[in-house]
Symmetry: C2
Subunit: 188 residues, 2 copies
Amino acid sequence: MNYFINFLKTLVPLDEPVQKAINEITVCKHLSAGTYLLRNGEICKEFHFVEKGLARVFYYKNGKEVTIWFTNENAIANAIDSLFTGLPSNYNIQLLEDSAIWSLQYHKIEPVFAQYPVVERLGRLLITHNYLLLDERMKLFAFCNAEERYERLIKLMPDVFNRVNLGYIASYLGITQEHLSRIRGKKK
Amino acid sequence: MNYFINFLKTLVPLDEPVQKAINEITVCKHLSAGTYLLRNGEICKEFHFVEKGLARVFYYKNGKEVTIWFTNENAIANAIDSLFTGLPSNYNIQLLEDSAIWSLQYHKIEPVFAQYPVVERLGRLLITHNYLLLDERMKLFAFCNAEERYERLIKLMPDVFNRVNLGYIASYLGITQEHLSRIRGKKK
DNA sequence: TAAATCCTTTGATAATTATCAAAATCGGTA
DNA sequence: TACCGATTTTGATAATTATCAAAGGATTTA
């Protein structure tokens, strides 16, 4: 069975014809760690869903990589700045583990939206959910200093923290690796 | 004519019955500067659209106000963390000028979504747009230091900058008012 | 117009975080 | 086991930004 559609069905009931229509525009790829789903400067034309594995979204700042997002199982990895605008993205999407990724050609979704209102709803719910995730991240920076961000994140996504090296986590927290290391040192 | 619906029609064509349905769940209020549309701890149950005037969204951090968003004409002022989750909001929404605000009772929109797919689409488009705005703000912090943030914002929203006092702008930029003042001093 | 209030700037100092360099640690593997 | 490369920690110093206090400016109002 199409794992991605099963996931969608947890959000909204989908009847057979709708499932079929979605199935026809999605494809599952098995990709190895290190693979890029997108590089900055490119236009993001696919919507990616992680069935198995781990991805990160990052950009370059003064030649250094800064991670802004981790996506693990049952979540979405996208460069929304590009997917929804058609403009080149500032972001890179890279797999950190061997992964199973469901990809959906974004331009093929438009007729499906038009034909099946429930898919329109699905789109709305998915975006709403991701909007809330982004708002959470904004709040994390708004309300917490570096140390508090570290504490909160290790509780929020302990799984990711154990699968990813410190440098990525530090940049996700908006600090240098050295600073993160000192924060951790203090805790013991 | 309902100004809010005219705005919506610039996004998606809406036929008469749909306009009527939306009209029935929206109301325009003329409110004076200083009025709160929401206070932190409350649940945000209305969706607000600014026809005329200016609002800001802010939270309290160690007793100090930190502004995270300005909404001027033809844009949306919401505490989305609460509106979409039904949980108490961390945010306050306050009018900075006498304003004309269109408010929509959020719980009344659900049957309209169900009845008119075009409204579902409208919802999706609105959220997508605001998601992109939030992503832009994240990028601003991710890619730019305080000085660059100032430069970019004064270009992006010069209108707001002229209507709002420095303290609010500083906190929007994520710095103290004193630091902002020094940045400006340097520019001359 | 003067007083009162609010907004903005300036100054001195402190806290936070970054940078660069080097050492320690860890994991895999020859 | 010993070595290699990658990751993490530690140290010394510098840059950025905050804090607290006070002084200027501007605006409103009696």
